[in-house]
Assembly symmetry: D2
Homo-oligomer: 353 residues x 4
């Protein structure tokens, strides 16, 4: 058996991809002369204005470095001493931020079971009973991830139902949108779809991911209810997330927002994941799992092929007890990458060329 060369771009993660050329060009374009630091520059002002345009209303935009920082900033802005945030057991804030929300925002996280990565209105109602009891951390924040860590996406109605349940109990809704672009692309790929699943559905504050969607690095915290962001600038600094030469973060976002590049890139990543899912479905011995809503699939493989496959073209384990792995496409995944990867998988699984 002769394996092909591994694909030029692996299926390990969308943050293993580099930056889109337009992003690098934007950085170079912004690199002219001096500009005051900390956001008092034209690129940042343009970026803030553009986010308001995208959402069709005055949102308060705070640019930050990374997703953990964006989430911590948003949660710190929402939380008061003694508060808690309800999230799923899979939430990035819960399992992939090394306790940053607890340490910095000072909140408790209440994680609930979510086989598909989505929080439900019933779960919010269940925990609302703690409100008013001073022995319990007060669940006044709901944090959801769109698209989710499990490669699913809330429908507009699902987000709206979560927001309604939360607001009914006086809670605020935070959306971790590290991959919001993939969710929007999956729901039609329009600005209208973005608005529908965020501000119109009732989300109070969200992060808008850039890093995983073709940027060198950068995330935006968007206070869709700007009054909640009134103290945001102080909080951004106190959580260490104030970029000095902010023009370079802003320029990247401006490049993404130009001509809806953010939607094109995410839509492409989604399509590549779908292609890979289709290809995997044809390979004997693989349970490809449900068709991906966004840019990742979570197939179950025969246990003894996982190691050889990863040695050939790396990807991450997901649930070792079930021999489940994660394959994730990126903005720059090429159809050839999908074909090559599927070929290799087939060869290793079937033991034949």
């Amino acid at each position: 058996m002769t394996l092909p060369d591994p694909p030029a771009r692996s299926f390990a993660s969308d943050n293993a991809a580099g930056a889109h050329p337009a992003v690098l060009e934007a950085i170079a374009r912004a690199n002219v002369g001096h500009a005051l630091a900390y956001g008092d520059d034209d690129e940042t002002r343009a970026c803030e204005r553009r986010f308001s345009e995208v959402f069709g209303r005055d949102v308060k935009t705070l640019l930050t470095f990374n997703g953990t920082g964006a989430n911590v900033l948003a949660l710190t802005a929402l939380a008061r001493p003694g508060d808690a945030a309800i999230c799923t057991e899979w939430a990035h804030v819960n399992v992939d931020e090394t306790g940053a929300p607890e340490r910095i925002a000072g909140i408790k996280l209440i994680d609930v079971s979510a086989p598909d990565g989505k929080l439900t209105p019933d779960q919010i109602a269940d925990h609302a009973h703690a409100l008013g009891d001073f022995h319990h951390a007060q669940p006044t924040i709901v944090s959801i991830t769109q698209s989710t860590e499990l490669g699913t996406a809330y429908t507009v109605d699902e987000v709206a139902a979560v927001c309604d349940a939360a607001h009914r109990h006086g809670m605020r809704v935070h959306m971790d949108g590290a991959r919001i672009a993939n969710a929007v692309a999956s729901a039609g790929g329009t600005v209208a779809a973005l608005r529908a699943m965020t501000v119109e559905a009732g989300v109070d504050v969200m992060s808008f991911g850039g890093t995983k969607n073709g940027m060198v690095g950068g995330e935006a915290v968007l206070f869709l209810d700007p009054t909640l962001g009134a103290r945001g600038q102080y909080i951004r600094k106190t959580v260490t997330q104030l970029p000095s030469k902010m023009r370079f973060v802003a320029a990247q976002f401006n490049a993404l927002l130009d001509n809806d590049l953010w939607l094109a890139l995410a839509g492409h990543a989604n399509r590549m994941a779908t292609e890979l899912h289709v290809a995997a479905g044809d390979i004997p011995g693989i349970d490809p799992g449900p068709a991906p809503a966004v840019n990742s699939l979570f197939p179950i493989l025969p246990p003894d092929v996982i190691g050889p496959l990863q040695a050939w073209s790396f990807f991450w384990d997901w649930d070792r007890s079930r021999h489940q792995v994660r394959w994730m496409a990126a903005w720059d995944t090429d159809p050839d990458d999908v074909a090559t990867f599927a070929t290799g998988v087939r060869q290793i699984l079937t033991g034949s060329d």
Copy 2:
């Protein structure tokens, strides 16, 4: 009176400068294919190796986004519950980080008077009396800034004396090196000078600034005593400072370290500040203050010219009660910028062309 056009590059701050071309080229060069995130990539490994080479011993390097984050990471690594850090009243950690060290590291800051921005061994000894008294936060950390916020720089002997005093009392020394390059350039501009004023003087952990010295953005936390950084990777994530596409931060540092570009850039900035100081000394009505050790001067101006000057070419007030301002050169300041700025200042001060 006809003022010249303001200089192309103002004297507001070194973080108002953009990125050096070699830095942008390095980012572009690193932007090839996929690389695993969070530091598991060749650029980061090379960067870590190179910092060890620069210091001539095995240091533990953790790349971060910005100076506040680097300081918070270092202090969090050193501090235990109930600890305090001694610093000057001018320290960036004390006055320019919106309480981030207190909130995230959970420490108390003890700030002491320092007319020249430098901490003295005596001040350390004075506060050592609190050690062992459980009513007092325990001053087990000393934090100094090199070069200082007041444009001065510790000599090698001064750093060593601070470290000796600290170590004698069982304290650890943190150096905020957001502008370490300027201090090293000022002390001879060699790697030997860097080693002498840091690891050889006894500094335990430091940040090595990149942003203010020609990078798009990035700082390195260097545990010169690597045992102190044993848990650094967890702490970096919990303080929100783990870059996802770390190769791009590493590539920038690699560019700076190539052929000692970092020293050339900082040395140039220092020289431009000196040129401006000399020029200012010839202008009647200005008290230019002491000759700059590094890249900033703090002149005292006639009060009524400050506003018009800032309107013409912006810079920051420093101490309004004394009509003192700050002029700061950057890696890209051109001699023409100095000449133009001095001309404008002279015209506004003297009221003549």
Copy 3:
């Protein structure tokens, strides 16, 4: 139907009981002349010595005000930035301390399912996979409650198995012993039983409850491994738990430790709960649940009698969805209280005198 007067002492909680006369006498006895504050007094020194005697080795004792404070002190002493503690979903630290451990110790709590209130070695092993992965809060602490919040108690072997599993993974074990006396009384009521289920089983640090067992107020944090408490005095102050006139807390503990009064009181409370359980088993319509291991039972009642019963003699709901309530005996519960309460319950349930 004529209800009897409600019992003089309700079954609401053991912290609804007052103080034992010997405790008040000890306070009065300690109230002679002046004694230095903050523990530099004879009562405190005696108390510290006595705890070492009780445990048969040199333990480090830190007296505190209350159970939340004792837990937070212990967890703060064990935790480093980025750490997490594994506990059950019922743990007091998890659900009844309004997020104090997260805010003050800065840790993440990882709560696991526990139908009987007990953590298992398997659950520890399950979470140990996160060790070494810097994206995840590091589960280096295991926190168990003895006796548990569900009225059960770990056997000596169960504690030892938890400690072994924890230590095998380099984790430390904290025991919330707010009701340790009840567990010891249930396991034979000897000092040997205490030692067996704590220091000999491998517990590293524990709280030893006083408030619920006849004191006015006070808890002791015991570092069974004294090296873990080396910085305990600083931490006690920084978590606000340093009693000023400490002699009065110490005197109460000294009274409890005299002649094993603590065991007598807890044993009595346990017996009263057993008596009530037996009596409840005879009343038609009640599911009394399992025989109580310690001083509380969790019967299931017909839904429509719960309100009237509570109006007659208050107790707390436990799980409203199942019509489950909690009845808890205290050190001062009288057999007459049990008889009276059982009579009232029977009358309200059966609708007859």
Copy 4:
């Protein structure tokens, strides 16, 4: 030279004194039957009502264990992320709480010079310049101590001036009233004087000390502006300061408030300090310092007598560089204690009987 026996009650501290008999009686009286925990009891309700009566308006009262806890609770209630509190260099929150405010409230403390222990309106105005600059922790809280750590007391006008300056800049005023009783006693010893220097002067939240004024232990946090305490009950628990058997803390305060016992005790302590100051003024070689405003004096002694004096009857050093010590009277100091102590001091200083 034959020294007399040391005084029965030393001049070390008012927290070295025990509890007033009426306080112990109140505890015993409250120790009847069961009462729900956490404040849902008659003693606590009475205590809350009485504090409102004392202040002549509806104040929100939260009972706590100790002074550090009371201060931390108040500051946590006032602070938002990124905030700072201005206090004096001598403030208990600044130097005697092992960094608890920083760790738990998450705030920065800005300490200012205060030779007499009092903050001035000018100092508030000086720091107000930081408001609105997101690089600086926002000084939105002013914390003063009444009576001060230096044995002085603010006049009513001085408190009002501080409050006016603070409020003019949108800051809130916290008063650490661990020794408020001594200040009130010094200012006339009436409830009217209390109101004048607190709620009428503009203080927003204060602690009302019990421990140092004859209680076994307990402090009250009083939100004079009750809206600021809206979330106080959650915060009290999350900062570990919720007493379980709260009736016993409340009963102590009720005893102190009966017939203005709190004023009688503090007034007596003040008089004893004055007597000692007069006696010390007659002893050659002592600089007794200014006449005490409250219950402590800070004499300067010949350096070689301090050790022998402390060995005979202990007291604390204050400023070793100046050979300054602190002598403090308590509620139970007897005129005989003063006479005996003065005799001993005279003998040791003069070397004669």
